[in-house]
């Protein structure tokens, strides 16, 4: 395998990624211009428009420059994580996001692990028990979970496990790792179930497809044990398409996190986004939109790389017949 081919592929992906992010940044920047009122209004965020303040804002955001220059200057600042100050709190936007990143990251990682556990394992089990009661139950459950958006799931879980049978806390973040784990279980579940259902269907279908392949039959016919074939053959091959979708799962997570964080008041960046939209905190909205876009794009790149690592066919594409 040539490392060059991989580097080339990564290089190409990176270029595409930079272009994509450039386009997104332009759209995000333009947000202040499509918002109702003047651009200064957008940056004022409801503060009285004293001449001094207007002057300061005009200077801060280069509002007297032509549109494209403004964009360029904005982008230059954005590249060093300077998105301006929140109109609501007057703090640098990046600081505020930094302070909020913790709970969101914890939630995201927790939910991601739950998703993998609740998605892949039952998916594989269902595929192995195809057409049995367990399979049907899992598949039906998956449709329900898939159709229940995180905020509804969150509220239902909240009602069931915090009100009816209060085993989990209804709000808050907790302190220390275990306490946080306990506090974030319901939100992470609410976030994970929908995506896990998607993953369950995906991995089940993929596993069924793989189990049907000739090479599985051939491996068995050669006398390899069932377990060996399941683990080394079926599971690994079934994982390939699962890995490819896992990158796009992150997009689901971000959308879902907005709702779950709101429903459980977790004070993460999802909630910050909602708060920023409610208060038209433009610099904050811009920074968050960029952050999320970049994270999603990077996650997709990672998924692609994982795909390359796990599936040799991609690696050798350039060379094989």
């Amino acid at each position: 395998m040539s490392a060059r081919a991989i580097l080339l592929m990564i290089g190409k992906r990176l270029v595409a990624l930079v272009v994509l992010i450039a386009i997104l940044s332009f759209l995000v920047f333009s947000l202040v211009h499509i918002a109702p009122g003047t651009v200064v209004d957008a940056y004022l965020g409801g503060k009285p428009a004293t001449p001094e303040l207007v002057q300061a804002l005009t200077e801060r955001y280069h509002l007297d420059e032509p549109f494209l220059t403004q964009y360029w200057l904005w982008l230059r600042d954005a590249l060093v994580f300077d998105f301006g100050e929140s109109t609501l709190t007057t703090l640098p936007v990046t600081d505020e996001i930094g302070a909020r990143l913790g709970p969101s990251a914890f939630l995201a990682v927790y939910a991601y692990l739950l998703t993998l556990i609740l998605g892949v394992i039952p998916g594989v089990v269902a595929a192995l028990r195809q057409r049995k009661t367990l399979d049907r139950g899992l598949v039906a459950g998956a449709v329900v979970a898939l159709s229940t958006p995180p905020f509804v799931m969150g509220i239902l879980l909240l009602y069931l496990f915090a009100v009816l049978v209060p085993v989990f806390p209804a709000a808050g973040l907790g302190e220390g790792f275990l306490d946080q784990l306990w506090h974030l279980t319901l939100p992470a579940l609410a976030l994970a179930l929908c995506v896990a259902a998607f993953l369950l269907r995906h991995s089940r279908a993929s596993m069924i497809k793989v189990l049907d392949q000739d090479y599985i039959m051939f491996a068995r016919a050669r006398g390899l044990s069932r377990r060996h074939v399941l683990v080394r053959y079926a599971f690994r091959n079934a994982l390939i398409p699962v890995v490819t979708v896992s990158g796009s799962l992150l997009a689901f997570f971000f959308a879902g996190a907005v709702f779950v964080e709101t429903a459980f008041s977790l004070g993460g960046i999802g909630e910050l986004l909602v708060q920023a939209t409610e208060t038209s905190d433009m610099p904050m909205i811009q920074a968050l939109a960029m952050l999320i876009a970049v994270l999603i794009v990077l996650a997709n790149l990672l998924a692609d790389l994982a795909y390359v690592a796990i599936d040799p066919r991609i690696r050798f594409e350039g060379r094989s017949a």
Partner: protein, 615 residues
């Protein structure tokens, strides 16, 4: 033991003794295989021959204990004193791979795509043998050498980096890694090119003989079975209809079906006047329960044939047949066989000058992912009025690409095409009128009858569209649809049916009718029969021949099968790697090949002679 089966002593003590094996769907009890008997002596090779769906693969799977869920096997299959059909999963462990090995049809799907060939071999080796890493690798390399792969780097390659033949060799090595006594080979060469096919079969034969291993070779190709096996079992719709020594069956088939199959195979060495086709198409085992399975298509069928399933009677030395009327019809069958031997001489005289299609130095280069493929490289051919031109060549030689350029589905990267006097290098530049004329001159019949008809549209709809597209003001469309259907041997009632309810042969007939709807002057047939069952192939070849005779249209017949091309064409081009390597009147090219490649192709055509697999 079933009452009607008398055992015939086989050549040696059997390693595997199958008696009355039945395979059925667990839920409904629908049979898949109704009765299979087979006795396999050590070192012996038995061929199971049958058309698609006859239950060959299912039988193989039953014998290695890997029937799909919902399918069960009953009866007995004694191996080493135990009935294979009753074994538990735990007992199977000591048998699979170690006692009985299996290889399957498709080398492209049989090997784990994400595992290197070396790993595949190593993990197949017996686990008890504690070997170091290096030793395992050396063993893998040794095993590869046994199957004729001397390139050591293969152990570090992934399956998709190998050619089909190589993959099949790796698979064979893997299947033999635990040194089984019996090898079941389920169509091991079907997916391969003729040349590779011969190599792989020769390899299997060689190893079988060298190891003294018993072999069950499953194939749909009688010629392959004759050439490879000591004994033959013919399977039809799930039941064994005839069994006997290979030579005996070839010379004197004793069941109408075996005979029909034999006759419908176009001979490679001569042109026959007409192929003897079996009418209809293959039923499923469930449909022919409790009667002779071949009854519905048999020209000798009588009421007796419908009164219960006929027994498998001993009809000679190591010969069995399931035909109840055999004594009555044996003579008639023999007569038919000799009649089919008659050969027809190829058309005499030179080609006409009236070129309908003239292709000059045409080229097609595909570029994808940085690679360039010269699919068609500087090819010149011509098709004259009234003649049938054959193009033969192995897979990937550019035949289809050439045909597609002729009808504007692909545009050439160089060269010129003139059809009916119109230069058609770029279809886009043509006027509507010219295009219409071209469409009316050239029509196509595609390879795959299952997807060449729109599954959502009825047969009548498709034919009507073809008629109306070319003749907007057409009148009596319904009537013409009926006529078209009749001209391809279908009743007008078929107009209402959807493709899904048609058999492969019927679909191909409809596809031909659709092409004929515009009354073309040239019919391009791209492998029109290769997706069809053997017994149906002859029907279609006959139909094409009949249409040509009736309508006097030209034909460009593309195939990879030399025997078919001999029956279907008068002038022949041989293609190899995008180039025409040889051309000339079919008879003379096939009888006296001048090019090495043509000669190689010819020698690869399965034939019963011993030396087919050894040279």
């Amino acid at each position: 033991m079933s009452p009607h089966t008398e055992r015939v002593p086989a050549s040696g003590p059997p390693v595997l003794d199958i008696e009355d094996m039945r395979i059925e769907r667990a839920g409904t009890g629908d049979p898949i295989v109704t009765a299979l008997d087979l006795r396999l002596a050590a070192g012996e090779s038995v061929g199971i021959v049958g058309e698609s769906g006859s239950g060959k693969s299912m039988s193989a799977k039953a014998l290695i204990g890997l029937l799909p869920e919902g399918v069960v096997a009953k009866g007995s299959a004694r191996f080493d004193g135990e009935n294979l059909l009753d074994l538990s999963e735990r007992q199977w462990r000591t048998i699979r791979g170690r006692q009985i090995g299996m290889i399957m049809q498709d080398p492209f799907t049989m090997l784990n795509p994400v595992m290197r060939c070396g790993r595949i071999l190593e993990e197949s080796l017996l686990a008890q043998r504690r070997l170091s890493r290096a030793e395992r690798r050396a063993e893998a390399i040794r095993r590869l050498a046994e199957v004729g792969i001397t390139d050591e780097t293969v152990v570090d390659r992934y399956p998709f980096q190998l050619s089909g033949g190589m993959r099949q060799r790796v698979a064979i090595a893997a299947a033999l890694a635990r040194d089984p006594q019996v090898l079941i080979a389920d169509e091991p060469s079907t997916a391969l090119d003729v040349v590779t096919q011969r190599e792989v079969l020769a390899l299997i034969k060689r190893i079988q003989e060298a190891r003294g291993m018993a072999l069950i070779l499953i194939t749909h190709d009688l010629r392959v079975a004759f050439a490879t096996c000591d004994r033959i079992q013919v399977l039809y719709a799930g039941s064994l209809v005839e069994a006997g020594r290979a030579d005996d069956v070839r010379e004197r088939p004793l069941h109408p079906y075996s005979q029909g199959l034999l006759l419908s195979e176009p001979p490679a060495d001569r042109r026959v006047r007409q192929l003897v086709a079996i009418p209809g198409s293959v039923p499923s085992a469930a449909e022919v329960r409790d009667r002779c399975s071949f009854e519905s298509r048999c020209r000798w069928a009588r009421q007796v044939c419908r009164d219960g399933e006929p027994p498998l009677a001993v009809v000679g030395d190591d010969r069995r047949s399931r035909c109840v009327r055999l004594p009555e019809i044996e003579a008639e069958m023999a007569a038919l066989l000799s009649k089919a031997e008659e050969r027809e001489d190829g058309p005499a005289g030179s080609r006409s000058d009236d070129a309908l299609i003239d292709v000059v130095n045409i080229q097609k280069v595909f570029r994808s992912g940085g690679r360039t493929v010269r699919a068609v490289d500087d090819v010149s051919i011509s098709v004259r009025a009234g003649e049938s031109v054959g193009i033969v060549g192995e897979s990937g030689s550019g035949k289809t690409t050439l045909a597609r350029m002729l009808v504007g589905l692909e545009s050439p990267t160089g060269g010129e095409i003139v059809i009916d006097g119109i230069p058609v290098r770029r279809w886009r530049d043509l006027t509507t009128n010219e295009r219409r004329r071209l469409r009316r001159t050239v029509q196509t019949v595609f390879q795959d009858p299952y997807s060449s008809l729109n599954p959502m549209r009825s047969v009548g709809w498709a034919l009507k569209e073809a008629i109306v597209t070319h003749d907007r003001g057409a009148t009596g469309v319904e009537r013409r649809v009926g006529e078209l259907l009749e001209s391809v041997g279908l009743s007008p009632g078929y107009a209402r049916r959807r493709p899904a309810s048609l058999s492969g042969g019927e679909r191909q007939r409809v596809a031909i009718a659709r092409a004929l709807a515009v009354e073309p002057r040239v019919l391009i047939c791209d492998e029109p029969v290769s997706a069809l069952d053997m017994s149906v192939q002859a029907q279609i070849l006959n139909l094409l021949r009949q249409i040509r005779a009736e309508r006097g249209i030209s034909c460009l017949f593309i195939t990879h099968d030399l025997s078919i091309v001999r029956q279907a064409s008068e002038y022949l081009y041989v293609m190899h790697l995008g180039k025409v390597v040889e051309s000339g009147p079919t008879e003379s090219v096939l009888d006296h090949p001048r090019d090495d490649y043509t000669a190689q192709l010819l020698s690869s055509v399965p034939r019963p002679e011993e030396q087919w697999l050894t040279t």
